[in-house]
Symmetry: C2
Amino acid sequence: MSVVDVSLLEQIRSLLEKQAPPAALLELTGELQPYDLSILLNSLDDDEQLLFLAALPPETAAETLGHFEPVEQYRFLDHLESEITAAILNLMSSDAVVELFTALHPLQTEQLIALLREPFREQIYDQMSYPENSAGSLATVDYIAARRWWTAEQTLGHLRKVGQAAEFYSYIYVLDHLGELVGVLSLRQLILADPQTRLEEFMLQKLITVPAELDQEQAAQLVAQYDLTALPVISRAGKMVGVLTVDDIIDVIEEEATEDIHLLGGSGPVETPYFKTDLITFFRKRIVWLLVLFVAEAFTGNILRHYEGLLTQVVALSFFIPLLVDTAGNAGTQTSTLVIRAMSVGEIRGGDFLRVVWREMRLGLVLALPMAGITFLRAMMLDSSVNLGLTVAATILVIITVSSTLGAIMPIVGKKLGLDPAVFSSPLITTVADAVGLLIYFQFARLLMGL
Amino acid sequence: MSVVDVSLLEQIRSLLEKQAPPAALLELTGELQPYDLSILLNSLDDDEQLLFLAALPPETAAETLGHFEPVEQYRFLDHLESEITAAILNLMSSDAVVELFTALHPLQTEQLIALLREPFREQIYDQMSYPENSAGSLATVDYIAARRWWTAEQTLGHLRKVGQAAEFYSYIYVLDHLGELVGVLSLRQLILADPQTRLEEFMLQKLITVPAELDQEQAAQLVAQYDLTALPVISRAGKMVGVLTVDDIIDVIEEEATEDIHLLGGSGPVETPYFKTDLITFFRKRIVWLLVLFVAEAFTGNILRHYEGLLTQVVALSFFIPLLVDTAGNAGTQTSTLVIRAMSVGEIRGGDFLRVVWREMRLGLVLALPMAGITFLRAMMLDSSVNLGLTVAATILVIITVSSTLGAIMPIVGKKLGLDPAVFSSPLITTVADAVGLLIYFQFARLLMGL
């Protein structure tokens, strides 16, 4: 699907080497999308990259940079001539600039802020005052604003004047004289309207907006639920801060899903793309969790040592340990994963606690019944002792029910404690299920096998 | 955030009971979004729901139905008077109709198709010929088309005539006389253009399009990468099929992430929202996987029975079984999860096989070293035999390296076999790691403990 091929790359290289004028380069790349240009840029050497970026129109360079990680963006901006850096930076969307500045060292940020022009600099300062990953920090300020008393014709005239610069441009936001958002209209409504009508007569007044402090994940949920393509962000003082656009929302949805998936897979969330993440980062994210899981799991050794006598008497008891601990973990993980995902997309909310637990407990029991039957048959095959078979089957029955219930309780409790449900429950569920499962196993062994 | 409150619900109920005219209802709910209306509808009884839907303007009812699952949509459509059903159905977006018809029983579909008007019916038949979850079946046909020789002014005039009906309306698609897509322009470009310019003079000609047969997940990746808000879909014959809009893309991204998460959590993917899914569905999705995992895990019992002699001689060997199998599973799951997610979002592609495996093998070894050290200390605490400590530590060293490597190999092999990487690897990784881990454990025990 990519339009970047080797021959294009070679042509660009030779043009850069010959120091051909920018026009020659643009002829080759003029119809490429910024994303394609970013792929192309990735295939060039460091020096070529800078020459190529300098040759692009600044607005194209600004959009292309948007497809890089902050650390790479900084490398480019730091090495280009400062007029070019300034031109590009002032044409980047405000949310991209905020993301870049937030990721950099304060000294690097300071150096770049000095290149911003007013009122953009002021807007960036404002946006940087909102928490990271909040609606306010993610919004773009490049939207079209109009006044409620303007006519449709006046507004179209205004668009023709300022429209080229605005990043986001499917809706017009109508403000009153205090800068408060009082309505919205789509470009489509504007075109269809009688030219002499005032905006306040046909704008939509009941708006879905979000406070600037709202977490980006909740904002993304709203956009997904209401099928919006843009979401205005409002400051505590009631002023319009900017617009969350759907391309940013898609990024948020992908990031949040990735974070959940990494946490559920038992490692810290890795935010950078796979091949752009160094092994040290992966090591740090993974070793912490391996250790946490190890420490939690270490108790199972104590439990087993406690029942050393039983294990010595009936060595066959140990045959079923991996099966029991894994099945307990599997059942618990199934439940917690389903519950965590449903919480992430807003299907399960705080008030649903008892309803979810009651559901999962019953479901666990129903799942446990056939599993216990199969376990009994399997135990008979391995050991052909009816008592051992009953012990293992009874343990499976209880442990699947218990770990399914725990899998429902733990994410919700984690959330109530203000923790990410995935962080709180995914490492714990397996180890808690294991420990509980082993304790139950040996109690049943005592009871049913007369040990 | 929801605008639906109890008092509103009560007012609506009493209006419905009194058989108040639709106008009275609309006064209460006129400014609500279709999503809000769907929440409201959910809180009403079956009879009230039908009265309420019948009172809504058909286009609002059509959009509101879009927020329900197909089975519920059918219940409404089947119970409303057939003129109302026909009016609503003909105003639904084509992708929503296709989704509904695909989900229903053929007889139900036939009954509803009879209510469609031409050319909508023909379009629906066309779209239903594409595979489920393909770009073609997901596209909407309600876009604005123009001809290359029209002027900007003519096109605006055309918009004013047909614009009200089109679902998607940020871009104008320019077709030639054969119905082939030759260019695109945004509403913004149209407004900014000189009224007398022909579209072909300023339309963008290099377009990102997708074939109708393309899987929706790949189409979603393109939209996310290029920050698009719409993606034209082209038939094999080169004709324009429709437009993939960003609200559908968001749904695809969320669905695909949910599917991956469910599979990684060890259950079949559940497509309906948590509380709308009955326990029988959850049971079916979960029991299959529990059984698969159980059967795979059952081999560990055979391995342990094979080494019954060793376990009898040194019962302390069994203390470390849960720790070993869980740590092996954790390391393998970490890798496979990171790799599967990176494949899902397009960061790892087919050609990266060796690079990924080589990375993960080294990372596994580096992770294994400190873990082995800690394991040795833990083993000394539990048993205070140096040889057992060395056995357990050596096993951890090998098994973390091996299972990290397996975690990289299995998803990629699954993909090469044409299977979903998550389906292929997530149930297998833990059980393969367990079996390999136990075999290594007993070999080391023989070697290092002289058994």
